[in-house]
Amino acid sequence: MTPAPRDLAPTPAQTVGPYYGHALPVPGGGEIAPTGHPEAITVHGCVYDGHGEPVPDALLEFWQARPDGSRAGAPGSWRRDPATGGHLGRDGIGFTGFGRVPTGADGHWSVRTLPPPPSAPYLAVCLFARGLPRHLFTRAYVEGLVADGELKALAGERGETLLARRDSGREGLFRFDLHLQGEKETVFLDFGAA
């Protein structure tokens, strides 16, 4: 396939602002894994600002490959209820590869998902917040799935900010904090959008 010309000027991004809370979050938005799936993992963490204070009004989205390596998504991330106009949530069976969660008052978020494949051992993350003129992309590479040295090759010493580390106390629990600024500033990614 030959690359198509990119002649049109893109529509610029703008901040999500402070008032998306009644519109974008959905019930069960972080329950990406099918209900009760034995291999499900939990990835969680906090979003911090430049003073190390938690960011209570961020929204995070997650997108990943299936455990078998497929990148095909599926509908059903948030089923609507035609009777009430409300949300039905997921059906508990399918895997859509997509999740969306807001941070709480303490800046904390969590998702339950299936482990990504070793060929793409990460959750792609898109972060929105009041104050950000556009969204930020990063990746949460799952410890034990990502090859040794891969993150250093990718981003040098700061590559460890991309690691979702095994969290103490529980099998299948991983911690991934995001630092918007400062010494521990997360490596954010650019995919070539202008």
Binding site: M1, A4, P5, R6, L8, A9, P10, T11, P12, A13, Q14, T15, V16, G17, P18, Y19, Y20, G21, H22, A23, L24, D49, G50, H51, E53, W63, Q64, A65, R71, A72, G73, A74, P75, G76, R80, P82, G85, T96, F98, P116, S119, A120, A124, A129, R130, G131, L132, P133, H135, Q181, E185, T186, V187, F188, L189, D190, F191, G192, A193, A194
Partner: protein, 246 residues
Amino acid sequence: MTLTQEGLAKGQDATGAEGVPAPRRVDAYRSGALRVPTRAPLALGGDPEAVELYGPVFGATEVTALDADLTRQHAGDPHGERITVSGRVVDRAGRPVGGQLVEIWQANASGRYVHRRDRHAAPLDPNFTGVGRCLTDTEGRYAFTTIRPGAYPWGNRENAWRPAHIHFSLFGRAFAQRLVTQMYFPGDPLLAHDPILHMITDQATRDRLVAAYDPELSVVEWSLGYRWDIVLDGPAATLPDPEVTA
């Protein structure tokens, strides 16, 4: 350099809307001071294996027929000026982005959001929530019926008022095409003063966020029509053929 300083410097090129004297300077958007990363992002645009070249899939389960009509989500009619907002979603090559989710949210006609933290002293409207969604058709077209939102004050400084705007969230064929932005209305005098719009430093780019009044889209005896087309950016790497991945 902090974003605040950059915003101040760049705001000086502000030009006024029609018939309005251009302000000398638009205030900086202050909310990002501790939030905007200080380091340049790592460029991964050339990686053909990136999961971000694929994206979530949405379908009939994600929308109901009434989700695109924000004026019919309650028992009664909302207050305000009924409008139709429609346009096409395309990529930078002009190809339609079909079957993708478009979400919108907005203030009511008085400039008040259905959000507990919005303390603006304007009335809530029991017949308006201000949330809509739809899927683009095969031509990339979306359409909403809603109410023209009001301007509202915010805390950037004394007498900072947001121009009327509708927040848009769009998915493309790839996660890297994700876009959250805001649509504005033509002729709004507040466009010349808004720090959020003026984070975009050149007029031509700002203009791409302003819809056009389109009598063709107006519905007789019912609503005023606005057209706003959206061009999704990137990614740099060639996207997989949509027919193969669908």
